[in-house]
């Protein structure tokens, strides 16, 4: 019998029927577009993709993509996704969230996901603000941002540099993208999914409601001119010396991937036995 070949899906087919409740002009629409385009380009069957998130505006994204989704606990998207990938290595695991969820509440998980190197893609939609709770400074907010009532004189704290942290923590694929250029972002997501190991993409994704000045990002953000390096020392030099608005794959090097061996099978009863002291 001939194998039934499913027709290749269009990007729009990967969108769910739910309409996003993000604000007009929100950068996250561009990320949603890029993720669905990447899945369509790679022709990954919907039932072979899982999208895991934490909490926040951006973490609503699993509801808007028609694949398996898990809208998890604040900051805990990476541990959930790690468990999923360990148990189901056949799945393409995407993890998504915001800068607060990923770098503050889930900061510790970010470090260890980088060094653990399970084969999954982590997309952080970074708008340098906690949008869902009405505009407080996040780990990536610059120290002199004074528009929040909680920090009327600015945080005075140096902002987090996610690519530098990822590099120092052992990540083998580090990229920066821009939601305002969803087609280039699609390319980054495709490369990240194809990379064997933990791939991290920091996506600059403007919050037009609480950070309206980020509309100017479009004029500032540019694609890197240099070739991607696989030398961590050179990558560190570039990342630390970067203007912060250079996009592209900043570092890429294949590293040993963690994939725990699968046990043949466990029945529910067998699993229960393991919890009995």
């Amino acid at each position: 019998m001939n194998e039934i070949v499913k027709p290749k899906l269009k990007a729009s087919a990967y969108k769910s029927k739910l309409k996003p409740i993000w604000c007009p002009g929100c950068g996250h629409f561009g990320v949603l577009s890029a993720i669905t385009k990447a899945l369509a380009y790679l022709a990954i069957p919907k039932e072979k993709v899982a999208l895991v998130s934490g909490i926040g505006c951006s973490s609503r994204i699993p509801a808007y993509v028609d694949v398996f989704g898990f809208h998890g606990v604040h900051g805990r998207a990476l541990p959930v996704a790690s468990g999923l990938k360990a148990a189901r290595p056949d799945l393409t695991v995407l993890v998504a969230g915001g800068d607060g969820d990923g770098f503050s509440i889930g900061g510790n998980h970010f470090l260890h996901a980088c060094r653990r190197n399970l084969d999954m893609t982590y997309i952080v939609m970074d708008n340098e603000v906690y949008g869902m709770t009405k505009g407080q400074a996040s780990p990536t907010t610059s120290p002199d941002w004074v528009k929040s009532k909680l920090t009327p004189h600015g945080t005075g704290i140096l902002e987090f540099n996610p690519p530098a942290i990822a590099l120092a923590s052992g990540a083998g694929f580090i990229a920066k993208g821009f939601s305002g250029d969803p087609n280039k972002l699609t390319q980054l997501i495709v490369e990240a999914i194809n990379y064997p190991g933990f791939a991290f993409i920091q996506v600059l994704s403007p919050c037009t409601t609480f950070r309206p000045e980020q509309k100017e990002w479009k004029q500032k953000i540019h694609w890197q001119l240099r070739e991607t390096t696989d030398d961590p020392v050179e990558a560190a030099r570039r990342i630390v010396g970067s203007d912060g608005v250079t996009t592209g794959i900043l570092f890429k090097k294949e590293l040993p991937v963690m994939q725990p061996p699968l046990r043949v099978s466990n029945t529910v009863d067998e699993l229960c036995q393991e919890f009995i002291v």
């Binding site: 007009p24 087609n183 479009k218």
Partner: protein
């Protein structure tokens, strides 16, 4: 990226594939903006985006009719053959926010539509394939008609349609 770096359009199928994706993206973008404006109670601006969505839908249907029976090539999103200096997918529609006035929405859309017209016009001028030239010229003409309709809508707006919507309880109040 310079215009010379863009992949060239070699035949009718190539052109139709690019045009279809470009219009499909505009349609989705206008639809999303209409939805999110409605959700944020900016109904006046939502109406304009709904009209734009409907115009793009008509344009898409026309392109799909022309594509009937033609096997369109698959194009990687990053390989679209935009010939304009500004990529229409990076249009100033990303400047929208929940307080945008109907006039600003239409102006941003006009900018977008002009770029699409420019793309069709450039293909018509540069292509050596008569079938591509004819099709691109016709699409450019259709696009110009759409632009004229948008200009009429812009002119017909009442004076208050040009001012930003006021939020009595704005999200950021600097101390």
């Amino acid at each position: 990226m310079n215009a010379s770096d863009f992949p060239t359009i070699s035949n009718k199928a190539d052109f139709l594939a690019n045009a279809e994706i470009m219009v499909q993206e505009s349609l989705e973008q206008y639809g999303q903006l209409a939805d999110s404006m409605e959700l944020h109670n900016n109904t006046e601006t939502a109406v304009q985006f709904r009209v734009l969505e409907s115009m793009e839908k008509q344009q898409l249907e026309w392109i799909e009719q022309q594509s009937s029976g033609i096997d369109l090539p698959e194009i990687a999103p990053w390989d679209f053959a935009w010939h304009c200096e500004d990529d229409p997918t990076k249009s100033n529609l990303s400047d929208m926010d929940y307080l945008v006035s109907p006039a600003r929405a239409l102006s941003a859309a006009l900018y977008n539509e002009y770029h699409s017209e420019e793309f069709y016009r450039e293909v018509a001028e540069q292509s050596s394939d008569p079938a591509v030239k004819d099709l691109a010229s016709e699409l450019a003409e259709r696009q110009l008609k759409q632009i004229e309709l948008l200009k009429q809508r812009l002119r017909a707006l009442p004076k208050e349609g040009h001012e930003a919507i006021e939020d009595m309880d704005p999200p950021n109040i600097p101390e």
